[in-house]
């Protein structure tokens, strides 16, 4: 249980200056190490004394992890420690991948976006209040989901993919990266690998204690965005209890190419409804060749919520998700 607030337990703070050093430190300390990026998720855990790593590896002093670079294939590579403000205001992202800038701009508040990083935003833990409160739930290694009890407060929890745990992924940038077909570049002591954004996030059926494929020793170093969807027609919308400084109840991102008045290609993803951001491939397939209008949006919305299993207090998310998907297809302004 979290008993002491605002006083962090002791840990060794390591501040590598290069990616290689960071990877070596993570390999050396394995499960005892915690990667500190912007600190917005991490410091809550430490101050609440729920997570007590022996070693904290602060990667904020590694210049290689920062900045937005063009790649040889015409895409972009965003360092994992690039702040959300930089992502939201970078000219290349605004011009070619606006959905990501829109998503980054919707994260929390300006102060948090100045400190928070794109790597931290996609790798943050769930906001389930039972889990964050320090209960030994499934996600914390126990045998119980306290949000899934008959009286459990599960208004923010999942509609899909409940597998013992019903928590959801809280990232705003995650669905945007999925629709851009981004690839997450991960380094560890054995080398570097690229994981599609869609596969970077995992549900409880894969590992109930993690939200991403990152294992002890792994470091997310950058996010590569191919030119495939550059300049597409984008849409991002987030619904939260407050317009600022809040996590999404549901958000949606889409990228589509429209030619001759019909959808030629589309990628569509939602978050806040499952333990991992969901790419709606069935919906994508059903709307290709259709005009991006009200009727197609309605069909897409109906398809999107097929199979939703609301909990006691989150039935409202079903029409919310349906309408967000509908707006992503037809455009919100009409």
């Amino acid at each position: 249980m979290s008993v002491i607030r605002d006083v962090m337990p002791d840990f060794d703070l390591l501040q590598p200056a290069t990616i290689d050093d960071a990877v070596q430190l993570l390999a050396r300390h394995g499960r005892d190490a915690w990667v500190l990026a912007g600190g917005l998720d991490s410091l809550d855990w430490f101050k609440d004394r729920v997570k007590r790593p022996r070693v904290v590896v602060d990667v904020s002093g590694i210049p290689e992890l920062r900045g937005v670079r063009r790649t040889s294939d015409g895409g972009l590579e965003i360092g994992a420690m690039t702040t959300l403000t930089e992502v939201a205001t970078h000219p290349d992202i605004l011009e070619r991948y606006r959905v990501l800038a829109d998503a980054a701009r919707k994260v929390a508040s300006p102060q948090i976006r100045n400190q928070g990083t794109i790597g931290g935003n996609v790798s943050q833990d769930t906001r389930c209040h039972y889990y964050r409160g320090g209960l030994d739930c499934y996600r914390a290694g126990g045998n119980t989901c306290y949000a899934d009890t008959p009286a459990g407060q599960n208004r923010e929890h999942c509609l899909f993919g409940a597998d013992r745990c019903v928590a959801v992924n809280p990232s705003d940038t995650a669905p945007a990266l999925i629709v851009l077909d981004a690839r997450m570049v991960i380094r560890n002591a054995r080398g570097e690998r690229e994981v599609p954004a869609e596969e970077y996030f995992i549900g409880p059926s894969v590992d109930i204690t993690r939200m991403t494929v990152l294992q002890p020793g792994d470091l997310l170093v950058s996010i590569r965005i191919p030119p495939t969807w550059a300049g597409a027609r984008f849409y991002f919308e987030k619904v939260a209890d407050r317009n600022a400084w809040d996590f999404p109840l549901v958000n949606v991102a889409s990228a589509m190419f429209v030619r001759g008045g019909v959808i030629e290609g589309i990628r569509l993803a939602v978050n806040g409804v499952a333990a991992r951001p969901m790419r709606l491939t069935g919906v994508e397939e059903s709307v290709v060749g259709e005009p991006p209008n009200e009727d197609t949006g309605e069909l897409a919305g109906q398809l999107a919520i097929w199979g939703a299993r609301p909990l006691n207090y989150n039935h409202f998310k079903v029409p919310l998700m349906k309408n967000l998907v509908k707006r992503a297809i037809r455009g919100g302004e009409t």
Binding site: D136, A140, G141, T144, Y146, T149, R164, I202, P204, D207
Partner: protein, 298 residues
């Protein structure tokens, strides 16, 4: 080393959450130690047939009494059961332990699906065995006496030469009973745990039992599962040993030779139907053992 995992419930009570996964490594180490120790022992003391006899004389006598060239040890249904269970156990161990070792994949549905297959196989085996004769697997007083004598002789003490077993030697019976025990452990608790996940058959109900009771169930499930790691290591080791391969082959082909039958089994305890009494047709080529009846008659 973590033997048990503990959790604190919302009322501040410390309750058991399950078996500590360090025990998986303990089970694997125990299996390895057993295999190495047995291999060293057998290397230093080559296997001898209990009560070595003049096999040629015995074979001539038994052939005259109609013991067939091929003695059926495992009928087709038993072999199908064995290999289906082996595949299912492999699937269960892979889906259970690889995620613990850090290999990430969606394991839950595959795990309970394999568990249901295992449950079905065990039910089939129970029914089939009831028809085939359960007594072949019973541990008899003679098994215990022979084991006692073997241990005394192993320790260099005076003891009568142990006799040959019936259809199944004591170690087979013990392995079978341990498998039954741990199998019931994983199946019984596994079926209960399925209540906690959504399946096509029902919606999850995690609140069937209190936290602490679930913890005990998880411990039984985990302990039985890691016990299988040790047992399967030993089982595969014996199946691969050169002097045991005739048994392994019998689980593939179904039969053992007359020579192996006479060398390793007591024809009085495991009687086979003589060639001459076989009915005509296909069945006459693969005589059926009647070990169950023979042991029942003892």
């Amino acid at each position: 080393m973590e033997i048990l995992r503990w959790e604190r419930n919302p009322w501040g009570q410390q309750v058991v959450a399950g078996l500590g996964w360090d025990m998986l490594y303990v089970a694997a180490a125990a299996g390895l130690v057993f295999v190495v120790a047995d291999a060293l022992y057998r290397w230093r003391r080559p296997t001898r047939i209990n009560g070595e006899e003049d096999l040629a004389r015995l074979m001539a006598a038994e052939a005259a009494r109609g013991v067939p060239e091929r003695v059926v040890r495992h009928p087709l249904a038993s072999r199908i059961f064995h290999w289906a269970m082996a595949a299912t156990m492999f699937a269960l161990l892979v889906t259970a332990f690889l995620p613990i070792l850090g290999v990430q994949f969606s394991w839950v549905t595959a795990h309970w699906s394999a568990g249901l297959v295992l449950t079905g196989l065990v039910l089939f085996h129970i029914v089939h065995s009831a028809f085939m004769g359960l007594r072949t697997m019973w541990i008899t007083r003679r098994d215990i006496q022979d084991a006692y004598n073997s241990v005394r002789r192993l320790l260099g003490k005076e003891a009568p030469v142990p006799g040959k077993p019936g259809k199944y030697p004591l170690e087979n019976k013990l392995f079978h009973h341990a498998t039954s025990l741990f199998g019931l452990g994983v199946i019984g608790t596994g079926l209960l745990m399925m209540v906690r996940v959504d399946t096509p058959f029902w919606v999850r109900n995690p609140y069937l039992l209190p936290d602490a009771t679930w913890g005990v169930i998880y411990v039984i499930h985990g302990a039985s599962a890691v016990a299988f790691v040790t047992m399967i290591m030993a089982h595969i080791y014996f199946a691969a040993r050169p002097e045991k391969r005739w048994i392994t082959w019998s689980m593939i082909r179904g039969w053992i030779s007359r020579a192996h039958y006479l060398a390793h089994h007591d024809p009085e305890l495991w009687r086979v139907v003589p060639d001459g009494r076989r009915a005509a047709g296909r069945r006459s080529e693969s005589p059926v053992s009647r070990g169950g009846q023979a042991e029942a008659q003892r």
